[in-house]
């Protein structure tokens, strides 16, 4: 669920950040033009007003290249050096541009703007440079370990020739599966860094690692989907465009136009990746640090109190002797229609002693942004909710409501204590002792059996 949610949010944010994408696209084109245009002029001056270009109708012709004679070595080496410089500069530029893109993709009240983009790029540059260099080195090193070493071992035995190559090819696939992990680390580190005032690259990398592995089950699928889409897209575009040979000026212009649109899309895809990882990070906020761990000593639900939507502090004593269902809710979630089911449950069982307590929470993808009044109105109008609703709370992190801290400490979810999403449900028996926890995806009607058991 989080996978598609984050992909969706990432895509939307990427499109909204089109200005940043455009800047990224234009600067890359500008940089490449720095070498491409002089080369073009050089070739044109060498060919002069020759008609030898007729040999080039099907692409590069070695016969024409041979005309350079012994100068070709010089030309190739100086061109390679130029290309190397451009690639180096391109790499540095992308570090800056990534800073800009990440900072306008993060959740913020400010609209993504060019000014924000450049500000983000500049303020994060050094930290991003370290993150990028370290991540790249890690990828190269891992690549060497994963591909180089097995290939060398396999290749060193002379018995089966080509084994080195085949092994390298096999392990390259393994690397392709591992690569997204490093991309996640780098992306999480950068997404985290842009939310912080103080720039600490290594702390960011540390966060990148911990976040990647803590949320691996949702992060990895997101990244591998994006990774495959990007690689396939790039490969298809290059194959089609580099293999096409338009012969008219108009045809070449069309090819160039299409290629530029497609490269813009490629940058947009990168924005999608950054945006998706950013939203994944927001869905899974940082784990509270160790020193703030709270030891929950309370014995039963009745020892807590909470404020209702109307602002009245209410002790949980009112639930004594009743079976209680505690739910964290949100108004704009895919699960929001569960209100209806919850209300039906309440209506069915309230006579027999069931109480449902709703706690709105805005910690999941910003899906409960409204005020208390708006929430109350939404619940009533859309779903006719009549069970008690309480004020907005936090359910995860240091500032989590004590009720949720207590419930989480007693009942673990499938993948840990943390509440994963809106509409996690806790069932508490008539003695105030939590007995069962249900995931957001569990529909209210599926709770009937457990409720009936407690009501008996």
């Amino acid at each position: 669920m989080k996978i598609f949610e984050s992909l969706k949010i990432g895509a939307i944010r990427s499109v909204k950040a089109w200005k940043g994408v455009l800047i990224m696209y234009s600067l890359t084109l500008f940089l490449i033009a720095l070498i491409a245009l002089p080369v073009k002029t050089g070739i044109k001056s060498v060919l002069g007003s020759s008609m030898v270009t007729e040999l080039l109708s099907k692409g590069i012709s070695l016969d024409v290249i041979s005309d350079f004679g012994t100068n070709l070595n010089t030309i190739i080496s100086s061109l390679s050096f130029g290309l190397f410089l451009i690639l180096l500069l391109g790499g540095l530029m992308n570090v800056f541009l990534a800073g800009g893109l990440f900072s306008i993709l993060k959740q913020s009240e400010k609209k993504p703007s060019a000014a924000l983009f450049f500000e983000g790029g500049a303020s994060n540059f050094l930290s991003f440079l370290i993150i990028t260099v370290v991540s790249s080195l890690m990828i190269l090193f891992i690549g060497f370990i994963i591909i180089g070493v097995p290939a060398m071992i396999a290749g060193s035995s002379s018995q089966s020739e080509g084994a080195g190559f085949r092994t390298a090819r096999l392990f390259a696939m393994v690397l392709a599966l591992i690569l997204p992990v490093f991309l996640l680390v780098a992306d999480y580190a950068r997404a985290w860094q842009v939310t912080r005032e103080r720039k600490k690259a290594f702390k960011a990398l540390g966060f990148g690692f911990s976040q990647t592995f803590r949320t691996f089950l949702s992060s990895y699928p997101v990244m591998i989907i994006l990774f495959i889409i990007q690689v396939l897209f790039g490969w298809m575009v290059l194959n089609k465009l580099l293999g096409s040979y338009p012969v008219t000026g108009g045809g070449v212009f069309l090819m160039f136009l299409i290629s530029q649109i497609l490269f813009f899309v490629k940058v947009l895809l990168r924005g999608w990746r950054y945006g998706s990882v950013t939203s994944l990070m927001e869905m899974n906020p940082e784990k509270p640090s160790d020193n703030s761990k709270v030891i929950v000593t309370e014995k039963s639900l009745y020892q807590f109190s909470a404020r209702t939507l109307q602002g009245i502090e209410t002790s949980m004593e009112i639930c004594r002797g009743k079976v209680v269902l505690v739910v964290n809710t949100a108004s704009k979630c895919g699960f929001t229609p569960q209100y209806e089911g919850l209300e039906k449950l309440y209506q069915t069982y309230k006579e027999r002693g069931l109480v449902i307590l709703g706690f709105p929470c805005n910690q999941f993808a910003n899906q409960e942004p409204g005020t208390e009044a708006e929430i109350a109105e939404g619940c009533l109008i859309n779903y006719g909710v009549s069970f008690p609703m309480f004020s907005k709370v936090e359910v995860n992190g240091n500032n989590a409501d004590p009720i949720f801290k207590y419930l989480k400490s007693r009942l673990h979810g499938f993948t840990g204590k943390r509440i994963k999403w809106n509409f996690t449900k806790f069932l508490i028996d008539a003695n105030g002792i939590p007995v069962k926890r249900f995931s957001p995806a569990t529909k209210p009607e599926n709770l009937v059996k457990d409720i009936e058991k407690l009501l008996r």
Binding site: L37, M51, L62, T132, S136, R166, V252, S259
Partner: protein
Amino acid sequence: MMKKNLITLLVCLVTAASVKSQIVLKEPLSDRQTYYKIDARLDPVLKTVSGSMEAYWVNKSSDVVPDIRMHMYMNAFRSNKSTLYNESGGSPGSKKSDFGWIDIKTFTDRNGADLIGRMQFISPDDGNNQDQTVLQILLPKPALPGDTIFLKFKFETKLPSTIRRTGFNDDFFFVGQWFPKFGVYEPAGMRFAAIGGWNCHQFHVNSEFYSNHSVYDVKITLPVEYVVGSGGLLMNEAVSDSAGKIKTLTYRAEDIVDFAWTAWPGYAVFTDQWKHVKLTLLIPKERISQVGRQFSAVKNGLEYFTENVGPYPWPHLTVVDPPLIGAGAGGMEYTTIFTSASAPNIPDYFYQPEMVTVHEFGHAYFMGILASNEFEEPWLDEGVNSFLEERVMDHYYGPEAGILNHPWLKISDKSLGRAAYLLAGSRNIVSNAENSWNYVHGTYGMMSYQKTATWLYTLMGLIGEETTNEVFREYYRKWAFKHPSGKDFIGVVNEVVTKKYGNRFGPDMNWFFDQFLYGTGIVDYKVDRFFSAKISGFTGVINDADSMAFKASKYKEDTIYKSTVQLERPGDIILPVDVMIHFDNNDTILETWDGKARFKDFFYTGTRKVDWVKIDPGYKIRMDVNFANNSMTKEPDGVPVRRFIDKIIIFMQFFISFITL
């Protein structure tokens, strides 16, 4: 013992009969001046091939010959002071097992008289007394015309660990240049020799071979697990020890110039048939996916050569694709067996294995059938063969993609050859008519292979493709199974060209070979500029008293232009060239320029103006070092350059995007 003697007797009888009889071919193709019968055993541990050899040489000249000269090629690997290693630098290795040599254990004549005392090593090429690759035997009695000199050897050949055509690596063996081999006795007049004598050169780093056509009866004994391929036809295969671990293979070859074989347990063997030729392919098991490619390359070669040169006479042909551990043996020819050079996982748009296969196959013609002297005229084999190879590749694998056919980039084989010539720094320091070891500054390969192929293309550009094919057919008809020299080839060209074109290119084509084969010049033709100027009426002052001015042109109706086309010849080589001139009214004029002067101007008067000029519009003068200056136009086509640059931009955009995180 009794039984063994009987078998020996039987074998002797069979052998005696087989020398004269025809087993492989219907009739002898050559005069068979030499014969070899070898019984050898491979020791895979000691890396030696040892055995006995009976051989003869017939004095078919009218000279009295006092000595015999034989090649002892394997001695080139005996030390780092051999001529081969003097020329290449380095050493055959660091341990005794790395070196190679051939030792003669016993050496007698037909009657068992010892000849060891009459042998000595000589160095006819460079006087290097450390080189032992040419053996001279001073005969007890000079060989009179018609005499047959019969020799019996016991020898041991140790293979070197660094494979230069021949050698071993682990359990891979390629055994070539491995037995004492006769030089070629050339009587006066043969290959334009002034006086008769032995032509028996030392083993050089850049030289190949020269031999008479012979019959070979060869027995090879080795462990049963070895898969063997050879240039002979397999007559018999038998397990030759009681434990069943050793086998003996008996081969027969007729009218080939050398006998080589390979043994490796890792080969997979495939067979195929092309008309009368049984094809055998030995290929590492990992490369089975390339079997089809190899067979179709050989068949393409057979088809093209049969049609455009002459028939392939033997019923057998073995192709070896050596494993990577034996890569040093790759790309070598021995007429009825040759080695390709491929690798695992070669993509199907890259025709390098096919190219090597076609090339080495072609040597069956230019080294095997037309057995020229590769020591002295390497171009006549390697260059002529490269020309045919490039034509086969571009014919069968795409005219613009004979070597690489990828959607992003296509390269034709003939362009690759021309590029190797044009991009070489030392392309005009030595002529094409040199002994193979005299190509200084690393020019041997470029000169013998690619430069020759490129000027043969230029010759074809002048005389046409069909006449070129006729040249090769006639060369084959006249010289097959003889030993033609370069001058003999030129003679065939002259004959065929004058028969077809009369005096069009002069009384003969010697002017062409004088410049390309024997000269060092380059070809370069250039359009300097062209312009069309309006012809104005007569104005001016004749004398002070009588000035006159005629405003009106005598051409009243139209504006009249005088067009001038200025051509230049910066290169030294003189060739007749076509010049195509195109006018703005779509007229096209084809002129010819004999190219003799350093420049040439053409003038045209009329209402039309010149739009563009092309020298050699068909790009047939492939020796021209600069195609770009061969033409000039008012409206150059910028589209290909723009397309190229745009693609560079696209590629770099995506590339930068890929490599950044």
